[in-house]
């Protein structure tokens, strides 16, 4: 009887210990769910970075800018936006894509994150990627995030089918220009190829190239300076007609060098630049070309 009782005790003990172990394991799993940093893996794809207008109508109205032209928005303060202007702006920027590098990323975040930002810009799609350049975009893979995927720019544009595309690329490649084997002409040639690829993906979209904006005077070096940026912009302006795009001399809005109050690090733009230059520029562009 004693032996039998001992067996029962041992069996009960083992069962309870097993239960305890199970519960412990379960609790540990529960904790890992929140504490593990590898729950969602961050498999960063490694990609070597290369150093480096036809008549346009907008919802029935004829624009004054012609494709292949070089256009600059007139100087002067933006008048207060009327309700009629809002309609024009909303219509003009409907189904519009802004694509570019980190400067565009900053603008996109600003527009998305500020409740006071105009709705006609909030409705746009931003395909922007920090450290991105013309050569990267031409690769056709691992472009800016769109729809949860980091795919090539032409693939995203083909999905969106935008009516207008504003492109602002090149600043990240200015540093390498002038080094052996890398020239403004070569970069310009790549830009032409990229434009051709985009036109192939979205043949009906109207393309606008925004010139590369300057850096602050203090940020300039022998390899990275506003003289090079200006030369590159001119080379793009010269090719705009051939490429069948509208060149917008956006850089002119900032003068010869980026004002320190418009730059947070000498290159990237501040909220002040977005509110005082970017938004009025795009507003004027649409209103003047309605």
């Amino acid at each position: 009887m004693n032996k039998r009782a001992n067996r029962v005790y041992w069996l009960l003990l083992i069962m309870i210990l097993i239960m305890g172990v199970c519960i412990l394991a379960d609790e540990k799993r529960g904790q890992e769910e929140i504490s593990s940093d590898t729950e969602i893996t961050t498999s960063a794809p490694t990609e070597d970075r290369q150093t480096e207008s036809t008549e346009m109508t907008s919802e029935g109205s004829t624009e004054q800018i012609s494709e292949g032209s070089t256009e600059q928005v007139s100087e002067g303060d933006t008048e207060s936006t009327t309700a009629a202007d809002i309609n024009v702006l909303t219509s003009y920027y409907k189904n519009t894509v802004f694509t570019g590098d980190s400067i565009m990323t900053g603008f996109a975040t600003y527009i998305s994150g500020r409740k006071t930002a105009p709705a006609w810009l909030k409705q746009c799609t931003y395909l922007a990627k920090t450290s991105w350049g013309i050569a990267d975009a031409l690769k056709g893979t691992n472009g800016p995030m769109y729809g949860g995927k980091a795919q090539g720019i032409t693939a995203s544009l083909a999905e969106i089918k935008p009516e207008r595309i504003f492109i602002n690329l090149g600043i990240n490649e200015m540093n390498g220009l002038g080094s052996p084997g890398y020239s403004i002409e070569k970069l310009n040639g790549k830009y032409g190829e990229l434009i051709a690829d985009i036109k192939g993906a979205v043949p009906n979209a109207k393309l606008y190239i925004l010139s590369v904006t300057p850096c602050t005077a203090a940020k300039q070096t022998s390899m990275f300076n506003n003289a090079t940026i200006k030369k590159f912009n001119q080379s793009v302006a010269d090719k705009a007609q051939e490429w069948g795009v509208t060149y917008l001399d956006f850089a002119a809005e900032f003068g010869e060098a980026l004002a320190p109050e418009y730059a947070n690090d000498g290159i990237h733009h501040t909220e002040k630049a977005f509110t005082e230059v970017w938004i009025p520029y795009f507003e004027k562009l649409a209103v003047e070309n309605r």
Binding site: A5, L13, Q31, E39, S102, G148
Partner: protein, 160 residues
């Protein structure tokens, strides 16, 4: 021997009783992502912009209608990696899809910052707190990620 076994049994029973309900350690029911974000937003180094629905849908491919509660915030400075993402999605299949999208975004952010010669920021991405608790998905990329995560853990513990 009997005494020993009895003691062991008693201890085991007490332990077992103490562990009961451990699966309810974290509770996400009623968790409000925006409210929680407001409580920790001062802990980030940069001022983060709370992204609007259009941007979230375009960038992450997330249909806001699928989410019960959410906040997507990132630094306005493109040189900064700081990001806080919190969303609750009851639909398991959709949640899996959205986790993949968030993974892609985090991977790309690390990639961008490495290429941009921002190793410290890229390290923040690598060291980010990322995971899911029940229907809640979180991504915390910040120099204060540990503190923000601790606050999240406390919040979820307090709700059980």
């Amino acid at each position: 021997m009997k005494r020993l076994i009895s003691i062991l049994l008693t201890l085991a029973m007490i332990f077992t009783a103490g562990c009961s309900g451990s699966e309810d350690k974290f509770n996400t029911e009623g968790f409000d992502a925006s409210k929680f974000y407001d409580s920790v937003s001062s802990m980030t180094s940069d001022q983060l912009a709370v992204l609007d629905d259009t941007y979230i849908t375009n960038y992450y491919g997330i249909d806001i209608a699928d989410l019960d509660s959410y906040v997507f915030a990132q630094s306005e400075d493109p040189n900064s990696a700081e990001t806080i993402i919190l969303f609750k999605c009851g639909d398991e299949a959709k949640r899996g899809e959205y986790i993949k999208a968030v993974q892609n975004a985090v991977s790309q952010k690390a990639d961008e910052l490495k290429n941009y010669n921002q190793p410290e920021q890229a390290k923040l991405v690598e060291d980010c707190k990322m995971g899911q608790v029940n229907d809640l998905v979180y991504v915390i990329i910040s120099s204060s990620a540990d503190d923000i995560y601790e606050a999240l853990e406390k919040e979820l513990l307090a709700r059980r």
